[in-house]
Subunit: 203 residues, 2 copies
C-alpha cells in the first residue's frame, strides 16, 4: 500500500490506530508464534507498510510489551476496585475471582499471550515479574480469608490459590466467544464451583 | 560418540532405551519447541549419533506420537479402572478426577506436551481427536452425575466439566516436583475444592 503518504498518515494515523494494530499483532503471534512472526509478516497481514507500523512502535518487542501490559494492567485494576479492598476477605476474594473472569473474557487474546510468556527476553521477564506480584497479592488475600476463618482448614492456602486461579485461567484454553456463554454466566459458574463445590448440597 | 558399533549396539540397545530417549526428547521439545528441535539437536543432547536415534524411531514425528500417546493411554486407562465403572456417578467422577491428577503428576512432561498440541500435523490432529474422545467420555460421566441428582443444578454440566478439568490441567502450569507436594496431597486438594468448595462449611 502507498497509504504512508495519504491524508490519514499526515494526520498521524497511517490506516491503523495502536489499538487495532495490537489486536492484529496478537492474533498473528498466536497463529505463528511470537518468534516466528516478523514485522514483515505483520505489515502484510495489516495491509500496510512496515514504516506505518514503526510509526506506532519502535519494535516487535514493544508490541509484545504493550500487549502483555494491557492484560496485566486490567488484572491489577481489579485489585484496586473498592469491592476488592473492603469487607470480609472471602467476599473480596469472591469479587477478585469474578472480575478476573470478566477481564479474561474481555481481554482474551492479551491474557492468553501473557499466560504463555516463558521468560525468553527482558520484556517477558518483566511480564513474569508483574505476574508474580499479582499472584502474591492474590495469595495474601487467600491467606487473609484463611485467618478470618472463612476457608476450609484441610487444604493448604497456597494450593487453594493455585487451583482457584488454575480454574480461572483455564478459560484461555477452552473459552471461545462463539460458544455463546456470557462472561456473567462463566463468572457465576467459576465462583459457585470454586467457593461452594459442584456437589449438590444435602437438603 | 562411536558407540554405534559397541557391544551394546550389537545387542540392540545403542546407549539409550526408548523410554529414556522419549524423556529426553520431550525435555528438549519443551525447551526449544517441537518445531525448533532437530534430530541433530536431540542426538547432541543425548550424546549419541542420529543413527542411534533412528534405530529406535523413524522420525521426530514418531517421537511426538509416542510421547502424546503415552499421556493419552495413561488417561484413558483411568476410565477403565473398576472404580470408574461402578457405583454412583458422582463417586466415579471423583475417582476419575483423583486419578487424573495422579497421572498428570506421574507423566507431567508427556501430559504437558499433549495439552500444548495445536493440530499442526497429522500426529497432532490424531492426538487432538483422542483428547476430544476423552473429554466426551468425562462429559458423559458429568451428565450422569447430573441425572442422578448429585450435581448442583445452577451450573451447566458442560461448563462444570470444563472448569473441573481446567483446574486439574492447571497442574502443568504450576506443579514442579521440587515443590515437595505429593500427588496424594494435590489430588486431595483438587477433589475437596472442586466437589465441596474452598469455603469453610457453616457449622
Amino acid at each position: 500500500m502507498t497509504d504512508g503518504t495519504s491524508r490519514s498518515a499526515q494526520r498521524g494515523r497511517p490506516g491503523y490506530d495502536l489499538d487495532s494494530l495490537l489486536h492484529t499483532a496478537v492474533k498473528v503471534f498466536h497463529e505463528r508464534g511470537y518468534d516466528g512472526t516478523s514485522m514483515e509478516d505483520l505489515a502484510k497481514r495489516l495491509g500496510i507498510t512496515k514504516s506505518a507500523i514503526y510509526y506506532h512502535v519502535p519494535s516487535k518487542q514493544e508490541l509484545l510489551r504493550l500487549s502483555v501490559n494491557r492484560a496485566l494492567d486490567a488484572l491489577f485494576a481489579v485489585l484496586d476496585e473498592p469491592e476488592s479492598g473492603t469487607g470480609a476477605a472471602i467476599d473480596r476474594l469472591h469479587h477478585v475471582v469474578w472480575r478476573s473472569v470478566e477481564v479474561l473474557v474481555d481481554e482474551l487474546p492479551f491474557v492468553t499471550l501473557l499466560l504463555r510468556v516463558r521468560g525468553n527476553s527482558k520484556v517477558e521477564r518483566q511480564a513474569l515479574a508483574r505476574r508474580r506480584e499479582l499472584d502474591h497479592l492474590v495469595g495474601e488475600l487467600v491467606a487473609e480469608a484463611e485467618h478470618e476463618g472463612s476457608l476450609r482448614l484441610d487444604v493448604d492456602p497456597a494450593l487453594t490459590s493455585r487451583l482457584l486461579f488454575g480454574m480461572v485461567n483455564s478459560l484461555i484454553e477452552w473459552y471461545r466467544p462463539r460458544h455463546g456463554l456470557t462472561k456473567n454466566e462463566i463468572a457465576d459458574a467459576v465462583t459457585k464451583i470454586a467457593f461452594d463445590g459442584l456437589r449438590r448440597p444435602a437438603t
